[in-house]
């Protein structure tokens, strides 16, 4: 699974993108975030407050209960501020 981080999420994790292989029980976005928090203090901090977190799977915005597949590209970022 490919993970991408943008804006302050990227700054806090300290990573632009990475490939991860979470365990089988990590089958939706909420579970992924819980799992990421355990990967280190910078992840714990990045995902401490998820109220301002947005998630896209394969370029589509999704809710936290969206299902994940191992080949997905999952992006985690703040609300967008384009235009």
């Amino acid at each position: 699974m490919k993970l991408l981080y943008f804006a302050w999420v990227r700054q806090q994790t300290g990573v632009n993108e990475e490939c991860v292989t979470p365990p089988n029980h990590v089958n939706n976005v909420a579970a992924l975030i819980d799992w990421l928090r355990e990967r280190g203090p910078q992840y714990a901090r990045a995902f401490e407050d998820v109220s301002a977190l947005r998630v896209a799977i394969n370029h589509e915005l999704v809710d936290f209960d969206a299902k994940l597949s191992k080949d997905d590209e999952v992006a985690l970022f703040p609300p967008v501020t384009g235009g």
Binding site: L4, F6, A7, W8, R10, A52, A56, H59, A75, F77, P78, P79, V80, T81, G82, G83
Partner: protein, 152 residues
């Protein structure tokens, strides 16, 4: 329907002329240029750095332009969105819509800008006076975008 994401500036004259060249049924061309301001969430902004999500951005801008084309009778539309390092007065985005009738061009242009603000995966980092701040999403942008949620 043209969508571009680029680091460099654009030539408004050339872009707008290209939108209507040979299209002699067009009566009105409305455009919006978004500019970097020297104030924002920071009181003093010396620079703004735009980050985006390559791959997703192109898709979303294409969807927004398609949605505008479905809602209004447009002969053409344009979205050019910049990313990277910008300073106050620099142009961020050019949106344009051309139509037989001016009302459609105005509405479609404003619609595209409103949806860009809330749907396009861009993030803005303001810096100035030693401070740095990621711009947060605005409630009034969300409201502006939501008023288009019911198709006319």
């Amino acid at each position: 329907m043209t969508v571009r994401i680029q680091e460099h500036d654009f030539d408004v004259n050339a872009e707008l002329a290209a939108l209507t060249v040979g299209q002699h049924h067009v009566g009105g061309l409305v455009s919006f240029i978004g500019l970097v301001r020297d104030f924002g969430e920071l009181q003093s902004v010396a620079s703004m750095t735009l980050e985006h999500y390559p791959g997703m951005t192109e898709k979303i801008l294409g969807k927004i332009a398609s949605e505008a084309a479905e809602r209004w009778n447009l002969s053409s539309s344009l979205i050019i969105h910049r990313y990277g390092y910008l300073e106050p007065g620099d142009r961020i985005v050019l949106v344009a819509a051309a139509s037989e009738h001016r009302v459609s061009a105005f509405d479609a242009c404003e619609f595209i800008v409103d949806w860009l603000k809330t749907k396009a995966p861009f993030w803005k980092l303001e810096e100035g006076n030693g401070n740095a701040k990621w711009v947060t999403a605005r409630m009034d942008d969300t409201a502006a975008s939501a008023r288009w949620s019911v198709k006319k």
